[in-house]
Structures are given as structure tokens and as C-alpha cells.
Symmetry: C3
Subunit: 376 residues, 3 copies
């Protein structure tokens, strides 16, 4: 009984996916789909299929029925049915089935291959707001022909313009350098010097001085600042993305009253829970890892509910590309929460109303408070 | 049947809480109580309550009935009932319900806000012995007006006096610096020079030379030496408190025949289990983490029973302040052990007598052997 | 039903133990056996028995019946029965009961105390192939009287000769130095200089230049290269054996098309799973840890099936010495897989045929593909 009540509450909860990217615009064949079911950017070797993974099994189990196939459908049948329905219908079905009422989209990655925030809103019927990636704003500014000496003044202006309607900011310093950076704000002279070097060579922003400049400019802007942490593609050196390496930066930001949101965090999610307990302005999620650990995500979700106060834990899918990821991010999180909280209730540790309340906090209410979404 | 036998044995086991602090002397209001239900030393933000945490839920579930309230009582009702009964009665009830027969109290922190070892004995009826914090002895010595040049000779004398009746020593080098220190004993000249700088500036001992001097003086004293490791308040930089960083210090201490006891260790408790397997003089517990992970502590307790021989694992609450922590430290550990060991018995891996024996070793017998408590 | 089908398939699966050492040649008494049931090389303290550990309990539970004793037999009875049957019969029974069809033996450690690959084949009836330890080949070459200047040319020749029939290579750089080495191939001059120093002093190869020379010579040889990672004896500094520290070396090896196999990895097996997902040439196992975590190995096995595609995970025992380790490595892995996969099937996440297929991949087929064992 109690368990049914909890299960129903979790399954029916309208979610705020507080960090996500657009769904794919175009069709993909089997090889293309497999390449997007892993964080690896290397070709899938000929002697294996990426469907033989936790995520691949989850696609066949949970997405197949949304496309009218039986659970555990063959990968070949799944890909064929996907092509038959066409990308628009597949995307429409999978986004609708996710039960997400509000997507906060990081549109700073993927360009025209992914649906824009407005397109995401149109296809899903959900509200969509934007999270702006700091590095992209600087790279766009550089393409506009700005000089190095102008960057310290011009970047904050560009950021202000770009974020008029944004609900948050995002940093990928983890990918571009790692968290073992000098946490202090760089001087203007250092920024100009680093910008000068960078503008000559071009390419992505990877200079740690510029990345720190972006972080501190983000803190000045005052919106909640998301940081990729832990698990990601082979650009990261994972041990340099342990969120604990941010401890000194976190302490320096604390007096500024700006919220920091650690994204993904796997396999360092217990470390993130510690930071969320001891620092009032630190929040975190286990997005991305939930999708890629598939059925094992129940364990990851349970581990994310240890040290952190429940008001500091968030839900995200970090889905990017195949709408299967948007759907599974929500579905696997719901299954993980049902399992983790249901176990607490069954053992007599928690009451059912408390368990339901925690699910609502993590799945929706914390994000609404943090990003001030209640105004809508 | 077998499971009932195991459950009864674990529930009735008189525990030795080998690392704990005093219970609160005075009354606390709701804000004061919440501030003590977290390792954060920051104010609890207005938009949340610390009761919405694993520990807060455990207080409402397990401490409420000890105060005659129903399980899962509202936080407001709990605080009101607490005030109604008064601190003396609340403390008496919660300590008695813990089933602890022997507390080893670190009285080097908290001063007059916490019950002294003698007061803890009086209110609980349990035997109480003392663990002496090295840093406190040096800070007390400094207040007595000692000169830097005298410290190398005077500290060992002060420590000997202060520990005449003590059963162990404690170091908080993890808080004051981290474990990434030079493991060698500093020279007398280095100690005098560092002491000279410190005595001019005052404050807590944070100089790594002095902290190393304290550790090696503790080794000379020969009592089991407890080291805070892993999880704690925001003073720690958690990644610098991984007990593996002590490996070289552990090897240097080994020929001295002095036991090292790693406290808490979360989220590095598997690392501590490794050290306890390969070094005969290393022991550890998962205290503090048990309280703060609440219902999830069953997972932490299970993870602490992997590599370490069962003779090397200990129980502690690390409770400090609210007697809820003393009670829950014991209660949650019992629940965790029942779950972890019960699962082993149910799966046919372990016999019930073996499971009962392991519970007794960890909860009581290992501490009695290590701290030579059998003499009483 | 489904679960019975899965259990039967896992239990009957002929395994490839892709990293193992020989069984003991001679008899051991109780003290000798206990000393081999831990990675510690220190004497077992008088106040404990190594039988009081996860591994000790597993020996009494699972090996006792193979020797005609009841489950959970007393340690003393177990040791007596072992002596009564004699080492030949004990070894024959335990190896046969393991259900291993093919052992890949690292014979570079243990010398004449352990059965040779040919003797392992004779006593077990299984096929045996060899994995050659790089450091041993260099140490053997040094004993032949080679000069430092000849080593850059002579080592590859010696390695080619030694590995004519080998299926893989093995590096113990984790033990001899750690993974925090310069990942680049050293120059010939650097190798000669380091070799000159080493040949004067003798002893094990511990110079990082020589260890890197061995790794890159191994890459040149082109066979799959096994690297000890994580958990091992007190020679390792465990935090310096996190496989993530190999990230740059892994990237440098990638264009060479040589497979890297991370062995053991505990407690960093989730990190290894990440590397196996993002790098096509990285594979891993949780051998050694399965034996030493005993009944808890089910959790370790489950954690090893998160990020890595199932084609990248392998089974090994890393058994060395007592044939109990060869038997338990297989038995505990089967129990862990049955539990981990059975939970997935019971929860409706996976189909039974998929679960059976994953067990076959990890237990046998991946190793057959990786080491090209299909030719037999």
C-alpha cells in the first residue's frame, strides 16, 4: 500500500531536468546511434556493439515499448522501428513519455545538430529555459574580432547580454583543464596576456587563466553556476575532476552568495555529497551517470542520498542527442528513487510521506527554488 | 530463527564506543539543535531545515520513541518534547538506550559546553575512559608560558602527566593540515624554530612541523594513536585526508609497535580496510559517517567489512553534543550490522555463530583488546 | 524459472581465468596457510587469525565441502583435513571444482614454490597458456651478464624469445613505482644510463626509466599488456595505483593498436570502468578483490558492471599459492554474477538470455577474443 503510494507519487511527478541538451535534429543509422550511446568519441570497435552495455540494455528495455516494440527488442529491430517512425515522431514520443515539465537547456554545445531551446519547447510541450555556457560566450566574442585588451571589459557585457533571460551558467573547466587550477581570480593583466596568446593560436579556450576569468565573471553575474564534475568524455582526466579539488574555489565563492551546482560527479558523488552538506551554496546531481549505468543507476542514486541535505540534491539527465537519453534520464531516476526510498520505507526507517516529499524536492522543488523558476 | 538469534545478539551487545565526545551540558533550541545535526559550521540556510537529511530523519524515527513520541514525529513536536523533558532527562534516556557499556571520550574539544568524562559516567552509568588529544596538550602547554626552546623536552613530560590514566591518544592533523605531510620525525631544531613562529602568532597548532612533532611524540608515548581521517567539518580538505596518504607514516611507525586507529574514513573506508589488512598495527572504524548517513549507514557498514580482518574493525559513534548522536551511533550501527551480517547468513555464506562472533568483535572485543580495557 | 536458467548457465560456464599464478607445490601448516590468505607480507599477529576475514570465512564455507567437510567447518578441522588428504589431492579437487577450462598463468613470480604452467595443466586438466612478466625478463637478462649499453637492443630480443608461445604480457610497474610516471617512451640514452645504475646496485627493477622502457618494449611486442592496478600487497602505495593515473599513457598507446588490461583495480574499479568505456583498447577485471572480499564480492562484481561495455570486462582469480584461491576466485565470481544479473532479471530490467550472454562474455568469450584463444 505505502509502497504503491510512493511508486505512484514518483512516477507521476512532473520533473525539472535542470541540465540537459537538445535532442537530435536528424536521423541516425545504427552506427550513428551507437556512437551516441557512449561518452567515448572513438569509433565503436568492430568486435563489439555499444548496445551491449547498461545503457544499451536500458534502451532496448524501456524505449522499445514507447516505439510499440516489446521490451528487450533486438537492437536491429529497434533501429529499424526508429527509422520507420522517423525522428520527429520518435522524439515526440520519448520526450512526452519522460514526464519532464521543464527543461533547463545548455545550448552551448552541439550547434545545429541538436534542437534549439525553442524547438525543444515546441516538440515536448514542456517549458524550456536556458543555461549559458561561459566558454561558448567567450569563443563567440573572439570570433567577433575583439582584441585581447578589450576582453576584461567586453566579456562581462557579452555575458550580460547573452544571459538576459537565462536561469543559470555553466562551466566546462573540468574538460578544458581540470579542477586543479589556482582558485583565485586572475588579474586583468594576466587575463589580457593569456587572451593575447589564445587569440593568436585560436581553437577552444583551454588556458587556465582564461577559464578562471570565466568562472569569476560568472560569479559576478550572480546566476547559479553549474560545473561539469567527474564522468564525461575522454577529454577529461577524470581524477583531475574530483569535485573536492574545488574546495578552495568553493570557499572563495562562498561570501559572494552565488550557488554552485556540481553536475554528474560520478564516481565522486559521495565527495559531492560531502561538499553539499558542509557548504550552503553547493548543490549536486548524478545526471549522465544515471543514464550510462542503466539498471545499476539505482545504486548510484542511493549513494547520492547520504551526506547531503535533501534540499541540495537535484535531478538532471544531461541528455544530449538521442531522445532516448532524455527519456531514460527521467525513467531511470524514477526507478532509482522508487527503489532507494522504497527500501527505506519497507525497512521502517522512513515514513511514506517523508519519502514522497524527498522525491519531490530532488525531482522538482529544489530546482524551482534554486533557479527561481517559481516565477512562472 | 537463525536471523532472530543474530538480531537479538546484536541488539543486546554491550558496546565499547571507542571514540566519542561529551553530551551537551545545556538546552538548545531548534536552530541550535539543527546546527549540531551537521558537520557544517555555517548557519543552516533559511530555505531548508537540517531535519531534511538522513540524520534528521533518523532522529525523528528512532529518538522520538525514546522521548515517548511516535516514530517519524514532526520536527517541531520533537523539539518541543525535548524542551519539555529537559536536557538532563533527554540525555539520561538517550544514553541509557544506546546500550554502550564503555565510552572512550576525547575531551580535547568543546570545552565546558560538553559533559566531562566524569559527568558522562555519572549520567550514563557506563564506564568512561579518556583519549587525549595531542594538539590540545600542546596548546595548553603554550598557554602556560613555555618558551619555544623548551617545547621538545617539556611536551613529552606534559603528555606523560596528562595521560597517566588515558587509554589512547588522538591527532587531528587531518583538520589542521592534511595527511600529505613529510612522514619523518622532525629534528629538534626544526621543532624549536616552528614553535618560535607559532608562539609569536598564537592560535591553533597548524604548522606541519609541530603537528608531526606531536604525532611522533605520541608514538613515543606508546598508547594507541587515533587519527581523524576522511569526513569532518569544512576545516578538512577531504581529498587530503584519504588515509592512504598516511602509507609512508604507517610504515615508519610499524617497527615501533604502536597501534594506529583510523577514525571515520568515509568516503575512503575501503582504502582504510586495505591498510588494516596489510599492516598489522592499523585499525579503523566508520564512526561519524554512520550517524550522518542515517538509513544508508547499512551500506557503509557493509563496505567496511571487505578487506580488513574482522579483528581490525571497531565501532564508534564520534557523537559530540546532542545525545541523539550517542544513541543513533549505536542504534544505526546495530541495524547496519544486523543487515550486513543477516544478508550473509540468509545467503548461506556465513553461519549464524560466525556472524554473532564478528558483531561482538567489532562492537566490543576488538576495542577491549586494543585499548587494554580487559583489566577492568 | 528464468532465475534457475540463469543460475545454471553461470554455474556450468567453463571459465577462462585470464590472470592467475600457479598452485602451491608443497604442504603448508596452519600458519603458512594463513599467511597466504592475505595480501599482507607481515606475520599474522598472535591475537588474531586470518581465518577471521571474508576470505577465511569463504574458505571454511566453500572449500570445506570439496574436502568432504561440512560447510563452515572449524579452521583447525579444515587444516587437519587438508594435511590428511595431502597437497596433490587437495589441489586436484579444488582446481577441478573451479570449472576453469583455460588458465593464463603469470609464472614470473613465486619461482619453484608454485606449480609451473605445464604442471598446472597436468593437475587441472585445463588448457594453460602463459602471460610473461616484463620485469622478470629484464631481471633474468641482467643475471645473464648483459651490459647496460646492450639492454636497449638485447631486451626486445630476449622478450621475443621468451614470448614465442605467450598470449600476453604483464607489468608490475604499480608495485615497483606507481602509475604516476612520465608516460612517454624514454630515450635510449636514458635507458642505458638507468640500466648502468641498476646493474651496479642489483636487486629488483624499480627505476621508473627502466619500468617505462619495459612498458614501451611490451607495446612494441604487440601482445595484450596486463597491468596490475589497485589492491595488492604493502609494496604498493595504493593511491598511486589508481588506473586513472594511466590516462596519458593509455592515450599514447592508443594509436599503436595494443590492448591494455587493468587487473584487480579495487577500490578503483569504477574508475577502470570509465577507462574501459571511453578507450577502445582498455579492458579490466576485479580479480584478487573477489577472493579477498569474500561474500561481499557480489557488491564488487555488481559495481564492475556499470560504465564499461560488457565486451570490455573480464574474469580472473589472480589466485597465487593455495588452490583454495583458484577455486574461490571462480566460485565467488559465479555467485556474484548470479546475484548481480539475477537482480536485474528479477527487477524486469534485463531479459534472462541477455543476462546469460553477459555472463558468457565476461567469464569466457571476451578473454578468448582478446587473447586470440579461439585458435585452439
Amino acid at each position: 500500500m505505502a509502497d504503491d503510494e510512493l511508486a505512484a507519487a514518483v512516477d507521476e511527478l512532473p520533473l525539472v531536468d535542470h541540465h540537459v541538451h537538445g535532442a537530435l535534429v536528424g536521423e541516425v543509422d545504427r552506427a550513428g546511434l551507437e556512437a551516441l550511446l557512449t561518452e567515448s568519441d572513438r569509433p565503436v570497435p568492430a568486435w563489439m556493439t555499444q548496445f551491449d552495455s547498461q545503457l544499451g540494455f536500458a534502451v532496448r528495455r524501456w524505449c522499445a515499448p514507447v516505439l510499440d516494440l516489446p521490451p528487450h527488442a533486438d537492437a536491429a529491430d529497434y533501429v529499424a522501428r526508429r527509422a520507420e517512425l522517423g525522428v520527429a515522431e520518435v522524439t515526440r514520443r520519448l520526450l512526452a513519455a519522460s514526464g519532464v515539465e521543464h527543461f533547463l537547456v545548455d545550448a552551448g554545445y552541439g550547434g545545429e545538430v541538436l534542437l534549439s531551446p525553442a524547438e525543444m519547447a515546441a516538440v515536448s510541450g514542456a517549458r524550456v529555459d536556458e543555461v549559458v555556457r561561459l566558454e561558448t560566450v567567450l569563443e563567440d566574442l573572439a570570433r567577433s574580432g575583439v582584441g585581447a585588451a578589450e576582453i576584461p571589459a567586453r566579456f562581462p557585457e557579452a555575458l550580460a547580454e547573452r544571459t538576459v533571460d537565462a536561469v543559470g551558467l555553466k562551466s566546462v573547466v573540468a574538460y578544458r583543464f581540470g579542477f586543479d587550477f589556482d582558485p583565485e581570480r586572475p588579474s586583468e593583466a594576466e587575463v589580457v596576456s593569456a587572451a593575447d596568446r589564445w587569440l593568436r593560436t585560436g581553437g577552444r579556450v583551454e588556458d587556465p587563466v582564461l577559464l578562471r576569468f570565466l568562472l569569476w565573471s560568472g560569479v559576478d553575474r550572480g546566476l547559479p553556476l553549474q560545473l561539469h564534475a567527474g564522468y564525461g568524455d575522454p577529454d577529461v582526466e577524470l581524477h583531475r575532476c574530483d569535485p573536492l579539488l574545488l574546495t578552495r574555489f568553493i570557499k572563495l565563492v562562498e561570501p559572494r552568495g552565488v550557488d554552485l551546482v556540481l553536475l554528474h560527479c560520478y564516481p565522486y558523488h559521495r565527495n559531492a555529497g560531502y561538499l553539499a552538506q558542509v557548504f550552503p551554496h553547493v548543490h549536486f546531481d548524478v545526471g549522465l551517470a544515471v543514464n550510462h549505468t542503466g539498471a545499476r543507476s539505482a545504486a548510484v542514486v542511493a549513494e547520492s542520498l547520504e551526506l547531503a541535505p535533501f534540499a541540495k540534491v537535484l535531478f538532471s539527465s544531461d541528455a544530449c542527442g538521442p531522445p532516448e537519453l532524455h527519456h531514460l534520464g527521467a525513467l531511470l531516476w524514477r526507478r532509482g528513487m522508487r527503489a532507494a526510498l522504497g527500501e527505506r520505507v519497507a525497512a521502517g526507517d522512513w515514513s511514506t510521506p517523508d519519502a514522497v516529499r524527498v522525491a519531490r524536492m530532488v525531482g522538482r522543488d529544489n530546482a524551482r527554488r534554486l533557479y527561481r523558476l517559481e516565477r512562472w
